[in-house]
């Protein structure tokens, strides 16, 4: 276990470094460099040179990367171009709200997806299975922004059932105390997850139902319900849990779209606003953070999987 853990952690650190290189590389693509973004495109040559010198941009790219990386490790993500605030504190304000949104969606998607997938496996190749498969395809292909819009039209414009806009408050606790405004964003974000989780759960349960241990339990007189709930369900759930690592990037991209449609003041909306106003430090900071989240998320999922399923650890050793 220790060896597996160590190898996996070293791998993750390497990947995080690659992520920072990719994001830093994106900044280098900026035409004219950051100086023109800050000073405007009509800045004089002298002003640009002075800006570059002051910000260390006249140094070789590798040195710049080193400085940027060391700041990053210390939690210094730079200073926003137009919000008059450090990127770290901007993100710190919005992140809890995005977490509230995404975590609720994942839990919802998991509960629904896993239940549907299990039912599909039991009802394999019957009407319910086909219906759920088709709906799953539809859910998977549904652009989140269009779904959000349809929900707004149906439930907020035609019938004044739910608000079309998320609560505009600063604290995450106030957001949670007013759950009505969260319903539509959470549902929109959960739909893709339901499609993914139900699909994997279906095949996972089917795989497990064919295993020897199921036949043994059946032969020993375990009833079908107990067999499914106690034996198959727990084993089948395991690989599905690790999907969260794979689902994280989907979820965080979805958050950008959903937060901008519902005007939900989280990290996704911050990123979108930064992108439309060319606030590069904020954009880069969030992108790095999202990358690190994804790496750490899949690392945790892998470790959890290895802890629960000893077979994983012994592969490739």
């Amino acid at each position: 276990m220790t060896a597996y853990l160590l190898r996996r952690v070293v791998q993750a650190i390497f990947v995080v470094i690659v992520v920072t290189m990719i994001v830093f590389g994106l900044l280098q693509l900026l035409p004219g460099g950051p100086a023109h973004a800050v000073l405007g495109s009509h800045a004089t040559r002298a002003a640009v040179a002075a800006f570059n010198k002051a910000n260390g941009l006249d140094k070789p790219v590798f040195v710049q990367y080193g400085i940027w990386f060391s700041h990053l490790v210390q939690g210094n993500l730079g200073y926003s171009y137009n919000q008059n605030q450090s990127v770290a504190s901007l993100i710190g304000e919005r992140l809890p709200k995005t977490l509230a949104l995404t975590i609720t969606s994942v839990i919802l998607a998991m509960l629904i997806g896993v239940s549907i997938g299990t039912l599909q496996a039991i009802q394999r190749n019957r009407a319910f299975d086909y219906a759920a498969t088709s709906v799953g395809f539809l859910f998977y292909s549904f652009p989140p922004f269009f779904l959000a819009l349809l929900l707004i039209i149906l439930l907020a414009v035609d019938v004044h059932l739910l608000p079309a806009q998320a609560p505009q408050v600063s604290s995450v606790w106030t957001v949670l105390s007013d759950p009505q405004g969260l319903i539509l964003p959470v549902v929109t974000l959960a739909v893709t997850g339901v499609a993914i989780f139900s699909r994997y759960m279906r095949s996972s349960v089917i795989d497990n139902l064919l295993q020897d241990y199921v036949r043994t339990a059946h032969a020993k007189g375990v009833g079908p319900v107990r067999l499914l709930v106690v034996h198959v369900f727990r084993n089948a759930l395991l690989p599905v849990v690790t999907l969260i690592g794979l689902f994280l990037p989907v979820l965080l991209s979805g958050a950008v779209v959903v937060e901008s449609v519902f005007n939900y003041p989280g990290m996704g909306l911050l990123f979108w606003n930064a992108a439309t106003s060319r606030d590069y430090p904020t954009e880069l900071g969030i992108t790095v953070l999202v990358g690190v989240f994804t790496v750490v998320g899949s690392l945790l999922a892998d470790i959890l999987y290895a802890m629960l399923d000893p077979r994983v650890r012994y592969v490739r050793q």
């Binding site: 349809l150 990037p249 979108w272």
Partner: protein
């Protein structure tokens, strides 16, 4: 989402009849070299036609291609001039089948023109991504060792940064053009293909015929190019099809968020986002058609990919 019962296949057999006549008949017992071949066109076509979703998917894709590229030739509209006196006309008024938008342009005609970009960028980006992913995956899997580890960590790194964030970031730096979008989306999409092809290559490289190439003095590149890649073609085609769906969805999200190809160029995502303002006025014809179009094209390519996967007998764990 595979899994078909015999009942459905029996029903679909009628539709597959034309394919069967030219093939080898319903019983798939072919001896000799033919059975060894990993890729049989007749068998592929038969399995494909038996998959209802796949037939529906290819129907949707063909329909949308005709709609976007042949449609404007039949249904001629003026997408250039602005006429505020005919703005916001409802569907089926004065010859506008789906009504007009906020500056008086015909919505149906705009839908056709907007779809051209989606399809062109989606297909080109997917093709480029598939090519790149295939090469990286085959090289990593075949040569193994340090090459494999380094390439796969790079893939992990790229995979960790969600594509939407990168395209939005780049969209804020540059004014996107079709060519640029194709390159960027391809650069972000080759990863899954690379992983899948690497997986296939790991098992293919131990086959006798690949070892025979090396024993008879053929280079590693020859083995990859002439033997590994042709034998992984099923995986490559299937993941390429899914790539088109993903690329179109990514492009539509970018357009929707306002950082895609700038107006006056038409795109579905941008039609949808500019129509949102008028939802409270009840001008639903501005948002429903582009939304349905995006959904249909993504659904079509996903169905198609799924059908191809069954037909080519590819086991993709990633999708």
């Amino acid at each position: 989402m595979s899994g078909h019962e015999p009942r459905i296949e029996a029903v679909a057999a009628g539709a597959a009849g034309a394919g069967l006549a030219a093939g080898t008949g319903p019983v798939d017992h072919r001896g000799g070299m033919a059975a060894e071949r990993p890729f049989s066109l007749a068998r592929t076509r038969r399995t494909f036609m038996q998959n209802r979703l796949a037939v529906v998917g290819s129907g949707i894709v063909v329909f949308l291609i005709l709609f976007c590229f042949v449609g404007p030739l039949v249904y001629r509209t003026d997408q250039v001039s602005v006429s505020l006196s005919t703005a916001h006309l409802g569907p089926f008024t004065s010859g506008h089948v789906l009504g007009t938008d906020q500056v008086g342009r015909d919505v149906l005609g705009r839908l056709m023109v907007g779809g051209q970009t989606s399809l062109e960028v989606g297909v080109a980006a997917a093709a480029l991504a598939t090519l790149l992913g295939t090469l990286v995956g085959a090289v990593a899997g075949f040569f193994g060792g340090v090459v494999d580890s380094v390439l796969m960590r790079i893939v992990d790194g790229f995979m960790a940064v969600p594509g939407l964030f990168v395209v939005l970031l780049l969209g804020s730096m540059f004014t996107p053009t079709k060519g640029l979008l194709i390159l960027v989306i391809a650069a972000l999409s080759w990863l899954i293909t690379a992983r899948l092809v690497r997986g296939d290559t790991l098992s293919l490289r131990t086959r006798e015929y690949v070892e025979a190439v090396r024993l008879s003095g053929g280079s590693g590149w020859r083995a990859v190019w002439r033997h590994i890649i042709p034998n992984a073609i099923g995986t490559i085609v299937v993941s390429g099809t899914f790539q088109v769906a993903d690329a179109i969805l990514l492009l539509a999200s970018l357009d929707f968020l306002g950082l895609g190809i700038p107006p006056p160029a038409a795109s579905w995502g941008q039609m949808l986002s500019s129509g949102i303002e008028y939802v409270y006025d009840g001008y639903l014809w501005l948002v429903i058609p582009p939304g349905v179009a995006i959904m249909l094209v993504v659904l079509g390519f996903n169905f198609l990919g799924d059908g191809l996967r069954d037909a080519l007998d590819v086991r993709l764990r990633e999708r």
